[in-house]
Structure formats: structure tokens, C-alpha cells
Symmetry: C2
DNA sequence: ATCATGCATAAGGGAGACTTATGCATGAGT
DNA sequence: ACTCATGCATAAGTCTCCCTTATGCATGAT
């Protein structure tokens, strides 16, 4: 005998609209339905309640006492619902959450994000650091920048920066062994994270046999920045992506002894977002901006279109 | 570009339930749907919103930040809705509104309603006077008692009291002409509302020709009580329904000079209510009570069943 | 008196809500 | 470690019931 206290929601929705307009026809317009549909829903509601909520008069309807009682509360509740969804939409439209891995964030994004902020003062930007495991935009962020091997295929992907790498070190360290003249000279110096599998790849390209480093613990991914810090401090030779160390190279904090640059074809830095965000203004703005910025940096990126991979 | 701020209500409803249970399956149970149906509705919502509201984890789901934000408000709004409908149901269940015409109310109901009230202390009873034009229960009342000619066929009808009538007057008035011995004697006295069409009917039954009263203005229906007052005051002869004047006849305030009682076949006092009220507890209680009371008064009423006419 | 407005209702169609069935991922249990 | 149980996602198909179309009716306006 105890049933759901809530009548069918579609009927409640119809009632809410009708009780505001005091017209089935106008409510139908508002709801994108016909007058007959509204009439039907109100009948459903009244049948369920067991009493009429409107008095049908000639050319107009009026709320019954009980209908009036209900209407004020139902209208209020729907008003709350509308505010809730309007608010969340507003928040969603104006808050851009960028998931970004540490290297890209510190080596590139941080210095330029301010420009984007200035160009788009209506957007509130939040960066959340992501390790390279969860590169998916999973509801906690709108867009993700990651450097990883297994790009998620269910997200829209834009490759940004290829995973190029080459050894780098502080000039004083090079001088300490009388300068670096050939690749093999590097082996005279401490190797920062010798477990990094980029090393054998680069030595191979440089024409040297696999140096076969001891199995040191590796902390490669996501910590290129840490390796760089040690190199800048003169603690050893790191294998880094030159794109991210242009300023250090220019200022002389790091030197790149060889033009030999190898590429890791399985990896890249890329930008990704769920397909439904394609039409999102804030995501488009950010995507287009980052592409433009990277082109200024001399990267050859495909014209931005939805299909860009 | 501006769309309805409110996502499809069915999706909102599903979201509300899921966010309370944090389970699609449980929400499905609550809504009387399958888990798949809920999953579908949540997808509809998320597609519409453009962002996920739940994070799907292994054997559970969690609200995203935005989902959390929404949930609190949506749950609140639905709680308001539920209260509103629960309250109105409560009010509807415990308040019995009786529309009653003046004659029946004053001549019969008033004296006995107290008993019903005592027998049903959980019901709050309200009597609203109705003229005999709007005998329909139109949302402002649960049940109607009226004396009229055109019983509304779309309502459930119970005949209560036949429209019997016979002349009545104060004994002093009768004595003023030396007593009433035959129907024609009445014509020597003032006739209260001679336009009342009951007069010719009664005189016909009494075997007299149509007295052919002048065309006095009539205020018959609904004012039998007023006519009676004038008769009791000795101002004339009224044609009344004896059932309603038993006490006056017993106490001698009125006398009924003849046993000749005519009946108006087109009219009766009856009780009516919309068909959907058949299953209403309060309406059944009142209907059964009034039938029982009238039987005590010696009326031969059909056994109460839904079909009783 | 005629027309316009607004709701009710019947009949019918169709959209989309729902079910069934299945897969997959993960955590629990042994 | 292997198996089982749980819970959500998804595809396909069904069917409900919501909605539209068409019409009627009552009433107020012109």
C-alpha cells in the first residue's frame, strides 16, 4: 500500500511548466511538445494523485487549492534543479583543467601559460600534475598533456613533440676531461640514470656498441627534469630531449656535444582529450593556442583540425 | 546556442537515485528498472552535460567533483519534491471536504456530523455550501450532496432521499380558518412561493384542478429552508419534504394536514463523487456512514456497493 | 451569430526507454 | 595464483507509452 511518493517525473515536469504558464498550450511550447501531450501528462498526474490539480474553465485554467499548494513547491524544486545545472554548466564552461606531466609543465608550459591566460581572461585555468600512467581525461580534467608510449585510442590525440634525445652535460664537466670530442668520451663521465633505455639507442646511432651499463635503478619517465637538474649541477651526463632545454643550451648551462639526435618512435608528447570535448570552446582555445605556440618554436605541426593525430 | 538548462528529466531522476546509492544496480532496483537502463540514462546525462558525473572504478562508482556538486543539489530538489507530494497526499487523505446544499446541511447533516467526526477522529471535515448548479466534485471537494434534477452522469451517484412533498403550516395558521379539512382549504391561506411547481403537482394528486397561481417570482431550489422558516412563523403554507421536518412535526411547530404526499420523479437528493474517489478511504467512510444513518431514519436504501445508484 | 481560443479525447505512429544477453575488469576468496 | 562474484558497459531488439494528428466541444470575443 505504500507506493513511490513521487509521481512519474514527466508528469511532474509537465505540471511544473503548466502551473507557471497556467496554459497547456504554452507549456507545450516550452517543453517542445503539443498541447495534447501536456494534457495527457496532466491527466496522468491527476490520476495518480487522485484529485485534480487544475480547474478547467472556459479559455483558461486555474490551480485548485491542492494544485496551488503543490505548484509553489514543485516550481521551487525545479528552479533549484535549473540553477544547479546552469551553475555547473557555467563552471564547466569557464574552468579549464589541464592535466600535464611534470616535464612538459615545468620545461615548457609554465613559462607560456600566462600568455594564454591573458588572451583568455574569462577562463580559469587549473593545472593538475599527472603521472604518465593515467593520461586519460577521466572527468577530473578537460585535456591532458603527457609523454607516453601507449596513447589511449579512445581519446582524440594530437602529437606535439617527438621523443628526440641526445646527451647533455654542464660545460665544466666536459672540461674536466679536456672536452668531449667523440661519443666514447661520455663513458668517462658519470651517466645519469644509465638504466634509461635511451642510452643504448643513442650509442647505437652514434656507432658505438651497447655500453651495457650495470642494472641501475631507473627513474626515467616523468623525471627528465630531475636528470637535467643533476646535469646542470655538473653531476654527470644526462640524455635529454633538446627541445625542452633550449634556454639552458643558449645560456651555456648545458651543452650538447653532438648533433646526433635519436628518436624514440614509440613515444611522443601529445595532447589528448575525450572526443566529446572536441566541441568544447575552452578545449579548442587551448588546443589551438598550444599548436600556435609550438609552431612559433619551430615545430612542424599539422594544421589543426579535428582529425589531427 | 542557448538550450534548455535542464537535461532530460528521466536522466536527472536516474542520476538522483544513483548518486544516493552510488550504484547503478541499486538505483535500478529503486526505480524498478534494470541496471542497463540506469547506465543508459546516466550516459544520456553525461553526453548532454559534456562531462562525466561518475568515475567508474572496479566494483564501485564515485562521483566526480562536478557530479558531487550536482548531486547535493539534485538530491535536495528531489527531496523537496517528495515532501511536497507526500504532504499533499497526507492532506488529501485526512481532509474530507463535503459540498452540501443548504437544505440537507441544515435540516439533516448538521445535527449528525458530530457523530461521524467522533467515529473518525483522524479526518478533518470541512463543509462547503454549494448551490444546486455546481453539484460536480470539481477538485474543490471530495463528495457532494445535492438536490437537483440533472444528476451528473460522469460522477458516481447514490440516491439518498426522494423528492417527496406535501403542504405544511403552523397549527395557529390552520386554526385561524377553523382548521384544514380538505385540500381546497389551503387556498384560503397565503401560499409561500406559489411559483413552486410542486404546488400544481400536489393539487393534482389531491384531486383539485390546477390552482393557477399568479406568476410570482420563485426562489425554490435551495431555499426550502427559508420557506419552512416562514411557515413555522405562521406566515403561510409551504410545500415541503416531510423527511426534513420530522422534528418540527413532532414538536408541533409544523403540521402536515394531509397524508397525500407527491413525489417529484425527476429530482432527488443524492450523494455524488467522481469515479476515482471510489477507492478513497475517506469517501467510502463517509458514504457508508451516511447510508447507515439514513437507514436508521427508516429510508430503504440499496445495500452500499460501488454500483449503487 | 459567428469566429477564435483552449482543452479533451481517440487513434495511431514512432522514438527512445528498457530488457536481455553478453563481455570485461577487478577484487574477494580459497 | 586461480577461480568466482560483483558491477558496469554495450549491442541488439522489443515494446511501451509518449507524443502527434485530427477532431470535438465549450465558451468568450467580435
Amino acid at each position: 500500500m505504500s507506493y513511490d511518493p513521487l509521481p512519474p517525473v514527466l508528469a511532474v515536469r509537465a505540471f511544473e511548466s503548466v502551473s507557471r504558464h497556467l496554459s497547456f498550450t504554452k507549456a507545450g511550447d516550452e517543453l517542445g511538445k503539443t498541447q495534447a501531450a501536456v494534457s495527457y501528462q496532466i491527466k496522468v498526474l491527476e490520476d495518480r494523485l487522485g484529485f485534480p490539480v487544475f480547474v478547467r474553465k472556459a479559455r483558461k485554467i486555474e490551480l485548485t487549492d491542492k494544485g496551488m499548494n503543490l505548484a509553489s513547491k514543485v516550481i521551487g524544486a525545479f528552479s533549484d534543479l535549473r540553477s544547479a545545472f546552469a551553475e555547473i554548466r557555467e563552471e564547466n564552461d569557464t574552468q579549464l583543467v589541464i592535466g600535464c606531466n611534470a616535464t612538459f609543465a615545468s620545461r615548457w608550459l609554465a613559462a607560456r601559460l600566462f600568455d594564454f591566460q591573458i588572451a583568455n581572461p574569462d577562463l580559469a585555468i587549473r593545472i593538475i600534475p599527472t603521472d604518465n600512467k593515467d593520461q586519460y581525461s577521466r572527468g577530473d580534467r578537460d585535456i591532458t598533456i603527457s609523454g607516453c608510449y601507449d596513447p589511449p585510442s579512445d581519446n582524440v590525440l594530437h602529437s606535439l613533440i617527438p621523443a628526440d634525445f641526445t646527451p647533455m652535460l654542464h660545460p665544466s664537466l666536459a672540461e674536466s676531461i679536456g672536452g668531449i670530442n667523440e661519443p666514447a668520451d661520455l663513458l668517462k663521465l658519470p651517466i645519469i640514470d644509465p638504466a634509461d633505455h635511451w642510452w643504448p639507442l643513442w650509442f647505437a646511432k652514434a656507432g658505438l656498441p651497447d655500453p651495457d651499463f650495470a642494472n641501475w635503478p631507473s627513474s626515467r619517465m616523468g623525471s627528465q627534469g630531475l636528470e637535467a637538474s643533476r646535469a646542470i649541477a655538473g653531476k654527470g651526463v644526462a640524455i635529454l630531449t633538446p627541445f625542452f632545454y633550449r634556454t639552458e643550451l643558449e645560456s651555456g648551462q648545458l651543452i650538447q656535444p653532438f648533433d646526433i639526435v635519436e628518436n624514440d618512435p614509440g613515444m611522443a608528447w601529445h595532447l589528448s582529450y575525450p572526443p566529446e570535448n572536441r566541441s568544447s570552446r575552452k578545449v579548442r582555445l587551448f588546443r589551438d593556442w598550444i599548436f600556435a605556440e609550438l609552431r612559433k618554436d619551430g615545430l612542424d605541426l599539422p594544421q589543426v583540425g579535428d582529425k589531427a593525430a
